[in-house]
């Protein structure tokens, strides 16, 4: 769908609007480093540009940070958590990776401070794809429904409150104007809003094509018989393009019908040109479209 691309461009547009922005990848093979023409990004935070930082967190690193913060004493952490048996035990608790990763996002978004101010104005999370993404956001409510007390219970309660506060958290959905992706997006937005009580802000429709031909030209193109091979191949491309544009248009209408959200359209880039340049362009498109809705505070 281009989730990482859109998340990167969205984060960049936030940074450009003056917000201190943290872009987070969770348990992923780093792709953002390459997008910004930098070395692969790991668990150490790196600066991508003015106001823009990025971190790629793994369950192991998030667990270490969390345990150190909770236990305070390094030596106990080493004795207990660096033990192989304990590690494989922790790995086997279902949902624990998701919980500590979300916990890390919570820490940066709500707790971490520089002086008296919060360190970050916004944390942009490049979440896993639909199924796993829902699982990530669901984990605090799962934990609070299984247990009733203890440190992790309290953490989960705080995370749940953060997720359910629309002033604090909103989800942006990245989709394509095709049958399967828009159905999946509808399912995702329903689950988020109805089941998990998490607000959905924007839909990003990625890889949107535009048609250079006027309607009249388009009609003529469809009527024409190919008279020679050159024209034949020219017409073939134009007709294919026209059909794809029409199909996307149809699905854009269905999308509007299905999900009641502002849709931001991101154009398809034909040339696999410089990724950083692409991100720059997309971030401008995002800023412009957000400005037009007056939705930027």
């Amino acid at each position: 769908m281009g989730k990482t691309t859109v998340a990167s461009a969205f984060a960049l547009s936030c940074a450009k609007r003056g917000m201190k922005t943290l872009l987070m990848q969770v348990n992923a093979k780093d792709r953002i480093g390459a997008i910004f023409n930098q070395d692969p990004i790991g668990e150490e935070m790196v600066e991508l540009g003015p106001n823009l930082y990025c971190v790629n967190s793994t369950p192991a690193s998030a667990m270490r940070e969390y345990a150190l913060m909770t236990l305070k004493i390094k030596i106990i952490y080493r004795a207990v958590f660096e033990n192989k048996i304990v590690q494989s035990f922790l790995n086997a608790i279902p949902g624990i990776s998701e919980l500590v990763l979300l916990g890390k996002a919570y820490y940066h978004a709500a707790v971490e401070k520089r002086g008296k101010k919060r360190r970050w104005d916004i944390v942009v999370l490049d979440a896993p794809a639909t199924g796993h993404g829902i699982f990530l956001l669901k984990i605090p409510s799962v934990v609070t429904s299984i247990i009733e007390s203890g440190h992790m219970f309290e953490e989960a309660e705080r995370m749940k409150a953060m997720l359910e506060d629309p002033e604090f958290t909103s989800v942006n959905i990245v989709t394509l104007l095709e049958d399967l992706p828009i159905n999946e997006s509808k399912m995702l937005s329903e689950t988020l809003q109805e089941e998990l009580n998490i607000a959905v802000d924007y839909i990003f429709a990625n890889k949107v094509l535009s048609n250079p031909f006027t309607e009249e030209e388009e009609n003529t193109l469809h009527r024409l018989e190919d008279s020679d091979t050159l024209l034949d191949s020219l017409f073939q491309s134009a007709r294919f393009h026209g059909a794809r544009v029409a199909s996307q248009k149809k699905y854009a209408d269905i999308l509007k019908e299905k999900i009641d959200c502002f849709t931001i359209e991101i154009p398809y880039f034909f040339d696999g040109a410089d990724r950083a340049e692409q991100i720059e362009k997309i971030s401008k498109i995002i800023s412009t479209q957000l400005n037009q809705t007056g939705e930027v505070e």
Partner: protein
């Protein structure tokens, strides 16, 4: 009705009893599975396609309202029979519990809150459920061919390893320590555990809360009673999949990153053992114009359009722009597919499907795709 089996892919699918389609998400795996099943049903076999994707449009194209957990017969004119079934994860996994758990722990597992939440999301459970259902269908002997559309996995081996991994999780020493604390009592050389299980449990529960540890431990001790059954079944499935009557087909798009994953599947499934029978690459751009034509003056083209358009020069320019864009895509797609070919043994066919300008939404569309894939087989 004559259905061609002269292509390499047609020949492959004609002599198998189990075909497993693997690949990343969104590459057309479900559609490809259905087309393969349709091909063999047309040749007179009784075929079932087992999908994990609700793919409503595809169900409609087959004349079904939707795919369900029960096998449904597709009412299209054909020599054989085509059946479709969707994988109902929860039901499938509950069946596993009922079958393998001793009666006394059956209810304990089914009503456990951790089981309730995680039976469908534990690492490997989806893959496990799919392989379980596949084996049931195979054992029933009702079908000449089973085509399985697998869950999109980022880890190539998940599907094959699921039964074992699930077992490993339940069986690992660390977990045994938790639900059978006596296992480690009195043993030396276990590092931290010599400090005393209580100490470690105290530190851990400071982090998780004692209750979570307890709930989890109850779940595991009940779940571990399933283990022997799971392991035995896992072995049977592995055995079936490594036999000559089974094959894997890797489905992909020509996107370089997706093809890289496809190559990874191939590597991991064991390139030496001929486990992968073929690649199917969907949505390949196979048109555009030659570089030579691109360099021609626009006027050469616009003069040919004089009579039809008001502004032939502008139309000509736009036509060339669009065609050159698709030429670029064509070059990218074929370059990426050739890269794949260089990494794949020569006797594994790489078949590609052109990018269709519209979705498959009816039986004709499906038939058109079948002809493209089998009768007009295009290989790299």
């Amino acid at each position: 009705m004559s259905v061609s089996t002269s292509g390499k892919l047609a020949e492959l699918v004609s002599r198998k009893r189990v075909i497993i389609c693997v690949g990343s998400g969104g590459v057309g795996k479900t559609t490809t599975s259905a087309i393969i099943a349709l091909q063999e049903a047309k040749r007179g076999k009784k075929v079932i396609v087992l999908t994990i994707d609700p793919a409503k449009r595809l169900a409609n194209a087959l004349g079904l309202a939707s795919f369900t957990g029960k096998a449904q017969k597709v009412e299209l004119e054909m020599e054989g029979e085509l059946w479709a079934m969707m994988l109902d994860m929860k039901a499938c996994f509950d069946e596993v519990v009922v079958r393998y758990a001793p009666p006394e722990s059956r209810d304990e597992i089914l009503s456990n809150r951790i089981y309730e939440y995680f039976s469908t999301s534990l690492a490997g459970t989806q893959e496990y459920a799919a392989s379980e259902r596949l084996y049931q269908l195979y054992e029933s002997g009702e079908y000449d061919l089973i085509v399985l559309d697998t869950p999109p996995t980022t880890h190539a081996l998940d599907f094959l390893e699921a039964p074992n991994r699930l077992g490993d999780a339940v069986n690992s020493r660390a977990l045994q320590w938790l639900y059978k604390p006596t296992v480690f009592a009195g043993k030396k050389g276990l590092g931290v555990f010599s400090m005393g299980t209580t100490y470690v449990v105290r530190i851990l529960s400071k982090l998780t809360g004692a209750q979570l540890l307890e709930e989890f431990s109850t779940f595991l001790s009940a779940f571990s009673t399933l283990f022997d059954g799971l392991q035995e079944r896992g072995k049977a499935v592995r055995d079936l999949l490594s036999r000559d009557e089974s094959t894997f087909i890797v489905v992909s798009t020509p996107d370089p990153l997706t093809l890289k994953e496809a190559a990874f599947f191939y590597e991991k499934l064991g390139k030496d053992q001929n486990t992968v029978g073929a690649f199917v690459i969907n949505r390949v751009h196979d048109f555009g114009i030659d570089d030579e034509d691109l360099r021609r003056p626009i006027v050469n083209i616009s003069t040919k359009l004089d009579t039809q358009f008001e502004n032939p020069r502008s139309v000509a320019q736009k036509l060339v722009d669009i065609a050159s864009k698709y030429s670029t895509l064509k070059k990218q797609d074929f370059r990426a597919m050739k890269d794949l070919k260089n990494n794949v043994s020569g006797d594994v066919p790489i078949v590609y499907m052109p990018y269709f300008d519209r979705d498959i939404h009816n039986a004709e569309g499906l038939e058109r795709a079948r002809l493209e894939l089998f009768d007009k087989e295009k290989r790299i």
